[in-house]
């Protein structure tokens, strides 16, 4: 008995080592994952530590210095109220990452609960999936606009609205992967052995949906940032004086032909952040799903 | 003496296809690895030649290289010669290749459902070859197509023309594939495991059909399979392939009665005999085909051969003509018997 145990553990270690090797190889072969992760980390660190880098108040107006082009003093120039754009873009990153992160986390949690239960109980499945179909049929931004118009503008309402928008697609993904796992022999075996439904759900099915979920979370994160910018641009997002990328773009609407940096700086921030997250998602998918190579299957 | 005479008579007729020392290499991890490694092969007009081997033996790659079908998908390097009616196909441009594909050399593939486009009708897929190569009008092509389907044994061919592949049974699909392949009356038909994906009863029908068409139309057939039973019924001669090389080559009867190579012997032993020894465990060849990057240094088969010795592992064996017309690539037959080295 002991010998067998030792043997299996040795075997397991060997398998584990090999898997680690393969992972390392795949990681190195997928630059998307590394570039995306590094890009995202840089933005995250800048957003967190901006008060240390530049203690300027993002909302401090200096009307004398309005619409200054980028210079040594104002790294990215100033806006029409003379606010330092570099500082505002960094504070904007805080807002965008906060909103995007919350939406990604909340919609993934909610979507997983819905998806896993739907995959396991037939009647529930019908009801939940019809609701998801209906929600997906409404273009996301519009649904968010409507919800925010109803509830009023605040960052929590933006998060709530976007969470409602993205949950159904998470639920669908999770359900699809859970359905595949449910048919696996080991789940059947557990059922035959009399394991409870809940135990099967959370112990066996949940771990299997984690990897598609992480991939989707990074895509939703990216999408939520774009959506937040669009909502703020329409005046249905984060309320005004707060520095959010969408607000800054909205404010530059009137002056960007004279002072293009007011548009280019927050715009570039959106693009870089979203691209990092998309790359991270692509990379994660390739990394977690060995069947896909070089983004062939999408 | 008599044997030599016979040989001369054979060679007086020009072979349809002659493959000389063919190597087909693919890039794997920045190295060129041979999937086909020095194959020689001659096909006479009207002859059915069988190629037998496990999956991964390079038999499909070899057959595809005759039409250079792999050129479109991946980087591939050819060495040696493929002579079709004395012309080296490896020297041709792909544009020239297109003129003989489906026209003078045709292929039928393993899985008829996936080999036919699911969103085009039988009509559209069949008439296309005729219009392309025979330069005939649509109406003529249609008439010819119906004739073709009739000959191939499809009941109600007019109806079949309008159908989509998924509406036909597997056997019918393969018949349509054969009709497409033979529409332009090719000189050579490459049948790449044409029966593998079919039900056993249908397999039989398709084999008979191929045999029948060979007699009627007189084209040569390169029949690729891992089914030894099919080979014994159909082929005039058989080549056994292992890891990109032909290890044994003989007339069908000779091969089945006097197999020489340990691999051939193993393959033959694996055929289940219904009546006898039902209780006994079916023999198998130990191990599996090694991957391209792990080809052994000496004889390719040495890792799975129980007769292999030090020499087999170190040096590639010569091709030995054990009896006239029966060659084998094995050290066992290198001394004693008739020595006749052809190549390495």
């Amino acid at each position: 008995m002991n010998l067998r145990k030792r043997k299996t553990s040795a075997l397991n270690q060997a398998i584990f080592r090999e898997q680690r090797e393969i992972r390392k190889e795949r990681l190195l072969a997928s630059p998307a994952l590394i570039i995306g992760a590094v890009g995202f980390l840089i933005i995250l660190l800048l957003a967190v530590f901006v008060p240390l880098l530049n203690p300027t108040d993002p909302n401090a107006m200096e009307v004398a210095n309005r619409l200054q082009p980028p210079s040594g003093k104002y790294l990215l120039g100033t806006d029409e109220f003379g606010r330092d754009l570099f500082v505002r873009v960094m504070y904007g990153a805080r807002v965008s990452l906060w909103v995007g992160g919350c939406v990604a986390v909340f919609s993934c949690i909610l979507g997983t609960i819905v998806g896993v239960y739907a995959s396991y109980f037939k009647v529930l499945d019908q009801i939940l999936m019809r609701i998801c179909d209906g929600l997906i049929a409404i273009p996301g931004i519009l649904l968010a606009i409507a919800l925010i118009a109803a509830l009023g503008t605040s960052s929590w309402n933006v998060i709530l609205a976007l969470t409602i928008v993205y949950t159904p697609s998470v639920a669908r993904t999770v359900r699809a992967s859970a359905m595949v796992i449910r048919e696996q022999a080991y789940v059947e075996a557990a059922k035959v052995q009399g394991f409870g439904n809940l135990r099967i759900l959370w112990r066996m099915i949940l771990p299997g949906v984690i990897s598609p979920l992480t991939v989707q979370a990074s895509f939703i994160f990216a999408q939520a940032i774009i959506s937040e910018a669009s909502l703020s641009f329409l005046g249905a997002g984060i309320p005004a004086p707060a520095a959010s990328w969408g607000n800054m773009l909205e404010a530059s609407k009137l002056v960007f032909s004279k002072a293009p940096w007011t548009m280019i700086c927050p715009g570039a921030a959106v693009i870089l952040c979203v691209m990092s997250l998309n790359l991270l998602g692509d990379g994660l998918r390739d990394f977690l799903d060995p069947r896909v190579k070089g983004g062939q299957k999408k | 003496m008599m044997q030599e005479n016979k040989k001369e008579i054979e060679s007086m007729q020009d072979p349809i296809l002659e493959i000389r020392n063919l190597r087909v290499l693919f890039p794997v991890h920045k190295k060129w690895l041979p999937a086909v490694d020095g194959v020689d092969l001659t096909i006479q007009p009207g002859e059915i030649t069988g190629i037998v081997g496990e999956s991964g033996s390079g038999k499909s790659v070899m057959s595809q290289s005759v039409l250079r079908l792999r050129d479109h998908d991946t980087a591939v390097r050819y060495e040696g010669e493929i002579l079709f009616e004395k012309e080296n196909l490896l020297k041709w441009s792909l544009k020239q290749m297109r003129n003989i594909r489906g026209n003078r050399i045709s292929v039928i593939f393993q899985d008829p459902l996936n080999s036919l486009s699911p969103v085009h009708t039988v009509e559209s897929q069949l008439m296309e070859v005729l219009i392309l190569h025979k330069k005939i009008s649509k109406e003529e092509a249609k008439k010819k197509s119906v004739q073709m389907l009739k000959m191939i044994g499809i009941p109600n061919p007019e109806n079949c023309m309008k159908k989509y592949p998924f509406e036909l049974s597997g056997g019918m699909q393969q018949r349509v594939m054969i009709a497409i392949a033979l529409a332009c009356e090719p000189k050579l038909l490459i049948a790449d495991e044409p029966t593998t994906a079919l039900d056993v009863t249908i397999q039989e029908q398709i084999l008979y059909l191929i045999q029948d068409l060979n007699k009627k139309l007189g084209m040569s057939i390169l029949f690729i399979t891992h089914d030894l039973g099919a080979v014994s019924n159909l082929c005039h001669s058989v080549k056994v392939m292992y890891l990109g090389q032909i290890v044994e080559d003989a007339k069908t009867e000779e091969l089945f009665t006097h197999p020489l190579h340990p691999y051939t012997k193993g393959l033959l032993a694996c055929i289940p005999h219904l009546a006898v020894e039902r209780r006994k465990e079916l023999p198998t060849i130990p191990g599996s085909v090694p991957s391209l990057s792990h080809i052994p240094e000496g004889c390719h088969f040495c890792t799975r051969c129980h007769e292999a010795d030090e020499r087999c592992r170190k040096m590639p064996p010569p091709v030995v003509e054990a009896t006239p017309g029966h060659t084998v690539k094995c050290w066992k037959y290198a001394e004693g018997g008739k020595k006749n080295e052809v190549g390495v």
Binding site: A146, A229, Q296 | -
Partner: protein
């Protein structure tokens, strides 16, 4: 084919039911009732109470929903509190520019993405493919309105080729109409194309390694025909689905972009309604565009049936 279409239409019923519930809830969930939103901060509680009663907000939930639902079916989508006209009328007035813009953007997107996606898939791994993939990666990270701003800056302000903003209706001539719509449609089209190029590329990649492609080549067919007849038709369902699904984001993008270019479309209507919290108009716009989106996808499904014979009942 007819029964296939019918089946598709029937399958929409539960979707539309859920949509109607959600859209109804949009007004129902307003804390304090719709009057709070409509009357703004200065209103007294009595005024709010009175308007809520007038709008029937004090009735039980199901009565309200049933009432609203029947009215919507009858064509009464409520009245705008600020425009003093019915919601449906307002939508009708603002719809045409949006439709024009969306259609033009979709055309741009298809012209850009399909050939590029096919070429990228066919020449997989080449510089062209890498470029196409990288460009579409950037495109996927772009909000449409941002690209609009870049294009405005480049074409409108610096090169002065196209008008920076504004709109000319069809009655002012097609050329003028298109001239004004060119920049917004192009920017929306490019963003859309980024996604569609990826989808076209990946669907073609999947198809190009199928056995029937090898069969087609073995017949001696020219490569261009192999790709256009066999690969494209087999890959078309995926591309079609992508077009249908991305129509939602296209129309959403249209709404945001319109506000930037001052195009008097549904986007403008939405923007002004957000500012006034004219909730019935917003509700109407959401319902209207969702119906449009659902119809577009129905059309895609039906087209799908034409492309892929396996979906047609009666066959087999």
């Amino acid at each position: 084919m007819l029964s296939y279409i019918l089946k598709r239409i029937l399958s929409l019923i539960p979707v539309l039911f859920v949509v109607s519930c959600v859209v109804f809830l949009v007004v129902y969930i307003i804390p304090g009732g719709p009057a709070t939103a409509l009357l703004g901060l200065e209103a007294t509680p009595d005024q709010i109470e009175a308007l809520n009663t007038e709008l029937g907000f004090n009735r039980p939930f199901f009565v309200q929903y049933a009432d609203w639902f029947v009215n919507v079916l009858k064509g009464d989508w409520g009245t705008s509190y600020f425009l003093h006209q019915s919601v449906l009328e307002a939508i009708g007035e603002y719809f045409l520019p949006t439709l024009s813009l969306a259609v033009l953007a979709q055309i741009f997107a298809l012209i850009l993405s399909v050939p590029l996606g096919i070429l990228a898939a066919y020449r997989r791994g080449t510089a062209l493919d890498v470029t196409a993939v990288s460009v579409s990666l950037v495109g996927a990270a772009l909000p449409g309105f941002l690209l609009s701003m870049f294009l405005m800056l480049l074409f409108g302000v610096h090169l002065q080729i196209f008008p920076v903003a504004g709109y000319a209706g069809l009655e002012e001539g097609l050329a003028e109409h298109l001239r004004y719509l060119f920049l917004p449609a192009l920017s929306l089209g490019i963003v859309q194309a980024a996604y569609l190029t990826r989808m076209t590329r990946s669907s073609l990649l999947e198809v190009l390694y199928k056995n029937f492609i090898q069969t087609a080549r073995a017949k001696g067919i020219k490569e261009s025909k192999v790709v256009l007849k066999y690969a494209l038709k087999n890959g078309a369902p995926v591309i079609l689905t992508a077009v249908g699904q991305s129509f939602g984001s296209l129309i959403a993008g249209t709404i945001v972009t319109e506000t930037l270019f001052n195009i008097p479309g549904l986007g403008m209507l939405t923007l002004t309604s957000i500012n006034r919290r004219d909730v019935f108009v917003i509700q109407g716009v959401v319902l209207f565009i969702t119906l449009l989106y659902v119809l577009v996808n129905l059309a895609v499904d039906i087209l799908y049936g034409f492309v892929d014979p396996r979906l047609r009942p009666g066959r087999k």
